[in-house]
């Protein structure tokens, strides 16, 4: 039997997190945490290498025979993209939060929780068994809850409980569907929760729709889509930038990830049935999130709302069922992780100096801290999908892919593209430009970003720029997943209308 790399990959950070709960010095704890994160990064890259070399990484061990639950892990292109995003972002978040806000829990606890969250998220992205997925899906809530409640802003308790309740409500509905799957699987022979086995069942009709809706609601809450999104701005506003990065960049991806892997993968017919609804739903999210961002008076809320808008684009791409849009959505998931990370972390740097997230509290920062302002602008440009940034490629794929099927819907959704420019640049204008205010002069003069802070931004923006100019590797990584899903659903791309043009 070959070495179970995927199990190792997920267990390594969890082990590190547990180890960090032992009493030890603050310096040692942080270094140890970072060490584990870097080791996980190395293993993650190794896994990517093995995947590229065509190795069979799947792990499949019987777990609970009575249910037909398996300890089954595997990665496809989409899973690997998410895994890579997670392992890259975690050490960066650690470095950015090297000094969590004073007076709360210790940095050691923060690092431990981050590691556990990382491990659990990795298992979520690798799980190839519905029960296993559900288990880790719910388990990620625990470290996240403590990350918010332990390190956030003044109303962190409210935000944490809200986050937990929304997520648990979704998880509960999903649990009902998971149980329902067992009933169906058992009625057709030996019960099995393996995704591959369940996909063979082709659960159609009313039953399939109800089960799909159960999964979908959980994912809608997770990915947040309007109107179940209000937990996200609160959670982002009242947590630290690092937590917000992991929450929005990594955890929320489970929503769209799940839609593709489970809603489309297990219930193709029901997913097609839900398409008209979901497409408009996505458009509402896009516009709603954009307007919410425009109306935000708090930087963290603003970034959170931009994410609501971006998730709308991902969902739109998923339910457009074309190769371009679906590949674009998956690619968008990857890019959005880095883009939001950039936004949250720069906002965090600014707030660390200013002591406030209020847009009103800033003004004229560009003059005294040009590097901070420049990085905020570049991060913002990635959020508004400027060509040259990888976010553009993915948004372009989603828009053009969707257009070929639903031109009107796409046209409405494209208003979000303009609104993106409005919210990003208005925020930049109000915070960074104009005359230097007194507060800015006090807090920012001579306190531009430190070397470490700049270094953290280098890989994030580097990925965004590199994939912006050379998106082919990422596109090739995610396209097989999209192809497989579309083949499974049984949909083909619309052919060009004008024949023989090419």
């Amino acid at each position: 039997m070959t070495f179970p790399w995927l199990t190792f990959l997920g267990l390594l950070p969890i082990l590190g997190g547990l180890l960090l709960l032992l009493p030890m010095g603050k310096g040692a704890a942080r270094l140890l945490g970072l060490g584990f994160a870097l080791a996980t990064l190395a293993v993650g890259l190794g896994v990517a290498g093995l995947y590229a070399a065509g190795a069979d990484l799947a792990v499949q061990v019987p777990w609970i025979r009575a249910f037909g639950a398996w300890w089954a892990l595997d990665v496809d292109g989409m899973g690997l993209a998410m895994v890579l995003m997670t392992v890259v972002l975690t050490p960066l978040v650690m470095l950015a939060e090297w000094q969590p806000p004073a007076g709360r829990w210790s940095a050691q606890v923060f690092f431990a929780l981050v590691l556990m969250l990382q491990g659990l998220s990795l298992f979520v992205f690798m799980a190839n068994d519905v029960v296993l997925f559900y288990l880790f899906f719910e388990a990620t809530l625990i470290p996240t809850y403590f990350l918010i409640v332990g390190f956030g802003g003044p109303r962190r308790r409210y935000a944490a409980v809200k986050f937990l309740l929304f997520s648990l409500a979704g998880g509960l509905i999903m649990l009902a569907s998971v149980v329902g799957l067992f009933a169906i699987s058992a009625s057709q022979g030996a019960p099995s929760y393996l995704v591959a086995d369940l996909a063979q069942l082709s659960i159609d009709g009313h039953v399939g729709r109800w089960l799909m809706v159960g999964f979908l609601i959980a994912f809608i809450i997770k990915a947040p889509m309007v109107p179940l999104h209000t937990w996200l701005p609160d959670a982002a506003e009242h947590s630290t930038p690092g937590t917000a990065t992991l929450l929005v960049g990594v955890l929320d991806k489970i929503g769209t990830f799940g839609m593709i892997k489970f809603c489309l993968g297990l219930f193709p017919e029901a997913s097609l049935w839900a398409t008209p609804f979901m497409v408009w739903f996505a458009v509402v999210s896009i516009l709603w999130g954009a307007f919410g961002a425009i109306g935000s008076r708090n930087l963290m809320r603003l970034v959170a709302y931009t994410s609501v808008s971006h998730f709308g684009f991902m969902v739109l791409g998923i339910y457009a069922f074309t190769q371009a849009s679906l590949s674009g959505s998956i690619f968008y998931m990857l890019n959005h992780g880095f883009s939001t990370a950039a936004m949250f972390l720069v906002v965090g740097y600014l707030a660390k100096r200013r002591g406030s997230y209020d847009i009103e509290a800033f003004g004229g920062v560009q003059k005294v801290a040009p590097v901070a302002a420049g990085l905020l602008l570049v991060s913002g440009l990635s959020a508004l999908s400027l060509p040259g940034m990888s976010t553009f490629v993915s948004e372009f794929m989603v828009i053009t892919g969707t257009w070929s099927r639903y031109p009107v819907v796409t046209a409405v959704s494209m208003i979000g593209v303009v609104l993106a420019a409005v919210y990003v640049l208005r925020m930049y204008q109000r915070t960074m430009t104009g005359p230097v205010t007194d507060a800015t002069a006090t807090h920012f003069t001579g306190r531009d970003l430190t070397g470490l802070e700049r270094a953290i931004m280098v890989p994030i923006l580097g990925v965004l720029l590199f994939l912006g100019f050379v998106p082919a590797p990422a596109a090739q990584l995610v396209e097989p997943t999209a192809q497989a899903i579309l083949a499974h659903v049984g949909v083909t791309d619309p052919a060009p209308v004008v024949k023989g043009a090419k």
Partner: protein, 636 residues
Amino acid sequence: MILFETIAEPVVATGMFTWAWTMIAVPAVVAGVLLLAGKLSDAWGHLLATAAVLWSFAIAVCLFGHQLFADAGSRAVVAPLYSWFSVGEWSFEVGLLVDQLSILFAMLITGVGSLIHIYSIGYMAHDERRRRFFAYLNLFIAAMLLLVLANNYLVLFVGWEGVGLASFLLISFWQHKPSAAAAGTKAFVMNRVGDLGMLAAIASMLAMFGSSSFTDVNAGAHGLAPQWATMIGLFLLLAACGKSAQVPLQAWLLDAMEGPTPVSALIHAATMVTAGVYLVVRSHAVFETSPAAQLAVVVVATVTLLAGAWIGTSQDDIKKVLAGSTMSQIGYMMLAAGIGPAGYAFAIFHLLTHGFFKANMFLGAGSVMHGMNDDVNMRHYGALSTAMKWTFGTFAMGYLAIIGFPLFAGYFSKDHIIEAAFAQNTFIGICALIGAGITAFYMTRLMLMTFFGEKRWQPGVHPHESPRVMTIPLVILAVASVVSGLVMNNWIQEWLEPAVGNHAHEVSLVPTPVGMATMGIVAAGVVISYLVFGRGSIPVKAPATNNPITLAGRNVLFGDQVNDALFVTPATAVAAAVDATDARGIDKAADSSADAFAGLSTQVRRLETGYVRSYALTMLGGVLFVGVVLILSQLG
């Protein structure tokens, strides 16, 4: 459709053409270097940046030379660079198309760009952020070249957004001024509205043709269903309106004058704003398939050329007069492009001559401002013709060129357009003719207020001529303003014929009837302007007026107010409504459901008396219940 085939098969790049990509790469890399190197490059940054543009110019000239001496069939060259990405059936290649059209643009951009770089060395000498300014300029040059050299719409779009970014950065270059920052944001957002059109057009092309390359689109356009041809045409027109400040997306251009003057000259007069014209000419096949789209272009162009001229008559800010004039002149180009095959070459012709004389005048205005302590109000000028001789001389060349003084550049290019307009539709022609008259009127007003009359200088202002590094570019541009019309008049139609698919018409130097009428109208405009502004004294403060035409002109035809009423206010209201719905609707619902459960549990909590005996009683009750149920179930 023989015409299309001439562009359908561009030859693959060899020799010199394999260097074409460095035209874009060198300025881009230099921009990156200057931005990343920080203060280290303060000392030599501007020189490096200028050298980079000169490099691009040199390459462009070499390529142009190659093409000039190549036979007509092998002039269009495509230089594939790399495969960007592919998804499904669609693949997106990054490649450059160096054909007769794009090389002219490349030369205009790099040529005028080089001059403006040189000029800026002097103009920005005292700005502590000069290095950054040059980095942005280089970024602009790279993006603009990418825009015109791209061989498909997607890569064009990358350049399209790139110039938007550079424009944003340069307009709001003096960020400490809130007005500059706001102007930059406004420009970017309004451009984005246009970009939507571009995006929609590309998406439609992909849906229709499965490709976005110029070759495929032009080849397939005639197969389009009429409504889709119109849609794509309108999308492209929307994009062009955003970039070229055409009505209804014109409002940003006057605010864009907040940027440093070289920026106004390069981006907002000579190059970027003409990208819309380029786009329409490039997509000629689509427009030719849809008369409705063409009509829309013509209508937009006509409205804009009159609106821009109108604005030019009433502004007191010298740069805003020139900006209004730019709008108006681009209107002429769009008009020509919308007329159809007959007009493409004239559109490009006017675009080139306009690039020269408008850059010349903007830089001249910059020179004036340089001497007047950055005052832009023409009412504070006067009698500068003696104080700034070189500036005056070169500006006068530009003035004569724009009003269409015989044998100057504008005389050829504009007359052709007016003639073509008359050939298309008399009403449009009359509008174009009136526009020419108004142009003469406001430009004469500008000249009179700036260079003639009595001194109205503010205290402490001592006008002086600008340094050599600024006047030499002025002279070069002035020469170009004078001769470019004459040089290109006969040649350009022929040259562009394969690229834009139009048959050369015979043009003569002898004025046609329409040309005579134009000259008459122009002369009338000059005379009226002289009568109004040249004889009496000009008040230092703008006189109050109830004249609706003047008021509208001063307020930029109320473009901002219209935008506010139609978009900004509703959007703000929607944002507030979203905020309120989230806070008081959705959150309230979530919170009150939580409160409801809390209230319920407060009631249920009363069961928890804390008395162990009550608990025991309940337990016993439970035992009894279970026992009874078990027994009953056994019985059952």
